[in-house]
Symmetry: C2
Subunit: 406 residues, 2 copies
DNA sequence: GCAAGTTAGTAAAAAAAATTAGGAACTTTA
DNA sequence: TAAAGTTCCTAATTTTTTTTACTAACTTGC
């Protein structure tokens, strides 16, 4: 049997390609179905007669792509044999490339991680050596997992920094008219899907998290900086040149702090980790006091410490966080008016103070959002936890292959 | 030959349905193609062999859906007969329903208007009588045009006011568990596509206007009020409950005027026709002077008059307009950061002062937009003119049928 | 417990589509 | 102007698919 390729459909329409397309369709449908399917169900889905559906299914069975799962209990009539995906034949590689962290997972199609590897000594730089290091890391991860290359559908990569519309990194690894994507596709002989790490997390929230099954979602990342992944009609919005979702530089009122973009008033200067520390400094300079923070030790504090202090009951830390949540809520209220989302998901480090943050966001959002779009918009914090980004890459690939429901 | 239905594909997959689907595909392809096509080209497009493509094409020819257009000039080899759509077999009805205006056009598939009718005495109200009036208006327009019902693909309606996700008006005509859409589909026995009039205009800009072929567009309507149609990846964004694009209530800085939504600072209170008049009153009260306007005659002025004064060189009117453009630009800059559009199109009454307005918008937009997304974003005024909205409905229907390129 | 009803699956017949092969209609080159 | 090369198109052949008809495997009602 020919290899089943799930990205880049063969355009030629001869018999074998048509059959392969139908078999891929069967696999896709089985991968999305929560229960095994009978031949009549499969045939209906791929829009052929039962005899052809039978033939295609039997060939997939012979090649071990699918497994017979026994008879189905029905109310009447002869009971059909049902078939399910052989999950051991379909693996995906998920990769996370951050400034100082490299992480890869081998994930089964049902999203169970079977193997993973980290590199904490990694430092991202725009050099051929770094590109080589990434390539070798992925290669060795695959090798050590023991999974055969022909059982791998492809590689999904979530990467820090700007990614353009062609899913190629703007800043990194564009040597000799080649992009990271092209380079890796050649080296690994596997389809590659690359995107911004925030967008990858957005997809993971859609597939595994609370955004599952929701059509229109704003996934807002609050860590050191602000990030946003906009999902409309279940699709991630990329924009004309791949820069969509630049939430940090939205301005919604006058502001004093100078942003690294050269302007003032950007929401990114008012909300998130970096701003949190600035808020603390200003508060202490204004004479406000706290059990946990003193002005002369200011250089020893991380923004994490402020979040910790909130959990410990520090009134000043709470007040600062509350103000930020209020501002963030006001900015999000504008998004609600504009995009009418069904759900806003908070991800990132600030999730650790989610109850405090979301209450404050709710207060702020009412100041700007219209009543009608707001009543249908939920605000929730992610439940997925950290260290999931490489899995997010895998989700992204499976979604691109249309082998995953959401 | 069975009727070709272009909306709601028959799900049954027997032979005849498959053939009809292929024939619809041929029609769709011909409708989008700028030149007639040969049988080999058609066959390649519908992914069949040449003999089957020939058979399907010949049947369409026999039924007069398509016409032979003579031989094509080629570089070598036997010259193929080419086929084009018989535009006289495919008509669309476009309808515009406004507060005090009813307008319908019968449009050929190449978007030539063949007949149109207006009703200026119409007053929109949520009553069965009004619904009946609309129905009779559409029926009589079709009748008077002389076009046979079986030559009409469907009816596209652009309607004022909120329209939900199921493309049903929120405010109007929801009697007896029936919507306007359902009611008309029953009465006219034609497929109906309904949407908000601003979104319909957005689609018209995509199909006929300067947004043609552009992936990501913001169509901003500046008339008495502000309206926005967001087009991303060539699709109009509707939002979770159909309320997306509520640009008028975006807040981007503190404002004093009270909006009808109950808040202050909404951009709709600062920009567009109603705000223009308020700006004029305030300026005159502050002692500013103009050749064209006096405070004691303020009730006699329409916002149109202020736009006229701009064209006549009135410095005060210009200053007011310029301030509005600047503010609008600042708000749009946020949209640019967020959605990274390729193009912003200005539509609505303010197009009459487009040069003044766009210059001001450019100044404002630089205050908030990031450099990178702004460099790839054009700002232009619509060239389509007024009285096009019913044609916009037709565009919307053709787009929903996938019978139009953009 | 047996007939009647229902759904699965398959073998045979019929239909449709794809290949193959070759002629038609053209250009280019010698 | 004749031969070679190209593409279109169709007739004949082959392959594939659907349809039809039938058997298998089950439940339910009498």
């Amino acid at each position: 049997m020919d290899k089943l390729e799930f990205l880049s459909d063969n355009k030629n329409s001869n018999l074998r390609n048509r059959q392969l397309k139908q078999q891929r369709d069967i696999i896709r449908h089985l991968s999305k179905s929560p229960f095994p399917l009978s031949i009549p169900e499969i045939s209906e889905y791929i829009k052929t007669s039962v005899p052809t559906g039978t033939k295609l299914t039997k060939e997939l069975l012979k090649n071990n792509y699918i497994l017979a799962e026994g008879k189905k209990e029905t109310d009447n009539g002869r009971r059909p044999t049902t078939y399910a995906l052989n999950t051991d034949k379909f693996y995906v590689v998920g990769v996370e490339i951050l400034e100082k962290f490299l992480h890869a997972s081998i994930v089964r199609i049902d999203l169970d991680t079977v193997y993973q590897a980290k590199n904490r000594k990694f430092i991202l730089s725009d050099t051929p050596e770094c590109l080589d290091e990434i390539t070798r890391f992925i290669q060795s991860t695959i090798k050590e997992s023991g999974i055969q290359a022909d059982q791998i559908i492809g590689v999904g990569i979530g990467m820090t920094g700007g990614v353009n519309r062609q899913r190629e990194s703007i800043k990194f690894f564009n040597f000799d008219d080649n992009s990271l994507k092209q380079y890796l596709e050649n080296k690994l002989s596997l389809p590659i899907i690359l995107d911004n790490d925030t967008r990858a997390i957005g997809i993971a929230e859609q597939v595994l998290g609370i955004a599952k099954g929701v059509e229109n979602v704003l996934v807002i990342k609050v860590s050191r900086n602000l990030g946003l992944s906009i999902i409309l009609n279940r699709k991630t919005i990329v924009g004309g040149t791949g820069l969509a979702g630049n939430f940090a530089h939205i301005r919604f009122k006058e502001g004093e702090r100078l942003c690294n973009c050269g302007k003032t008033g950007c929401i990114g200067t008012e909300v998130a980790g970096d701003a949190l520390k600035k808020d603390l400094i200003e508060a202490l300079q204004n004479g406000e006091r706290s059990l946990y923070f003193q002005l002369d030790k200011i250089d020893t504090y991380q923004y994490h410490d402020i979040l910790d202090a909130v959990l410990k009951g520090d009134a000043l830390a709470f007040k600062i966080l509350h103000d930020q949540g209020d501002k963030l809520g006001q900015a999000l209220g504008n998004m609600v008016n504009l995009l009418n989302p069904d759900l806003i998901v908070i991800v990132g480090e600030f999730v650790m103070v989610k109850d405090f943050l979301i209450d404050a966001i709710r207060i702020g959002i009412r100041k700007t959002a219209l009543l009608e779009p707001l009543t249908t918009c939920k605000i929730e914090a992610s439940t997925l936890g950290r260290y999931l980004s490489s899995k997010a890459g895998a989700c992204m690939l499976l979604k691109a292959c249309d082998m995953i429901e959401y």
